[in-house]
Symmetry: C2
Subunit: 213 residues, 2 copies
Amino acid sequence: MLASMAAPQSARRVQRYDTASLLQVAVRVFTERGYDGTSMEDLARAAGVTKSSIYHHVDGKEHLLRLALERALNPLFAVLEEPGATKGTALDRLEHVLRREVEVLVAELPHVTLLLRVRGNTDTERWALQRRREFDALVAALAGEAVREGALRDDLDPALITRLVFGMINSVVEWYRPDGARDGEDRPDGVRPPAARLADAVLALSLDGLRAR
Amino acid sequence: MLASMAAPQSARRVQRYDTASLLQVAVRVFTERGYDGTSMEDLARAAGVTKSSIYHHVDGKEHLLRLALERALNPLFAVLEEPGATKGTALDRLEHVLRREVEVLVAELPHVTLLLRVRGNTDTERWALQRRREFDALVAALAGEAVREGALRDDLDPALITRLVFGMINSVVEWYRPDGARDGEDRPDGVRPPAARLADAVLALSLDGLRAR
DNA sequence: CACGTTGTCGACCGAACGTTCGGTTTACGG
DNA sequence: CCGTAAACCGAACGTTCGGTCGACAACGTG
């Protein structure tokens, strides 16, 4: 063992924080207890520091929420700009968007979870709700296009099926828990990562239903 | 007009409350702002009375939550006891349960909304979460039966499709708003009530998917 | 080894929280 | 018109809330 790897001479602090690592703790506690149900004292206890230390890194509780929601919204909107979402038939683009949204949801699970539970009690929450409405409208337009193309059944309202399908996708945050292996890591050929397999199931169920054929 | 139907002689109080009518107001505010985000002052303001008046009717904030959650859980479980849920093929029973759950969700929309947002910060919330888990397990078992019957596709895990389909159903609370007409009221023959029509769409999408045929 | 930076702490603040209490108003049967 | 019970109120309780402040320890750099 090298001298530089010796144990810290002071045992008083087990971990030092910066804004990012503190946000990680905050998001975990927010998702467990809900944003309104979490006090700064709760956050401090979970992080192993005092309340005042938290204010050294962030402006306050609502600032932490904003940082978390941005981490969810930015990648969700980014999906709509991908080549697969802008070129091809409406059905292909819709499939791409749905599949990628599942993958983003899994990759940013805690942040998306928080986003989906926002109620609108603060400015930050109302801002997030507004962005969600914009997002939903864009996808609903895409579904409408696919119906007019004749690729989707026309006996159901496009707005309705968009809501139901996204309701199904979003409900994943209620139960999905990642296993130990990271998606990027080496994996035998032909074995798809868990997020992709989940997206397969969502697409299969959405497009073809669960009835046996 | 009978004398007993005369307008109240005093205009100072616009409404008198009992436990039930107070619960109605509380559930509305709880769903708007979230349980943790609602203060007793908020409830008092919404009801047009003072905080202390509320304690004349209920034991406290958590008591109101318990009353609301019971109003959701009892009819949800009652569906599982109905004849359509206990007799016939597993597919028929599953269809019946899904359809009726949609109808109950619409009929008790505010209470079910509250149930689905419970986080587990109090004893009452943990009790509700426990009952929800029991409910999910019962339906998942039914889905497994339907798969073994050969009625549902067997390339997807029954537990997974139960979660996804119920995620879709439960998401209805996020956007569905009842129109003016009540479901029980007179309606021309052949016109199904809104809740039944919504259930039709949910069943169609779940079983046959949204792809055009 | 002095220095500024970074992270932490305990003590504290005013406001808001859920709840309690003693007393007042209202509706109504006798 | 009186008596009573239900409904209500204003004021206050003790606690917890989100947030502030000044001091201090650890550390990399000159």
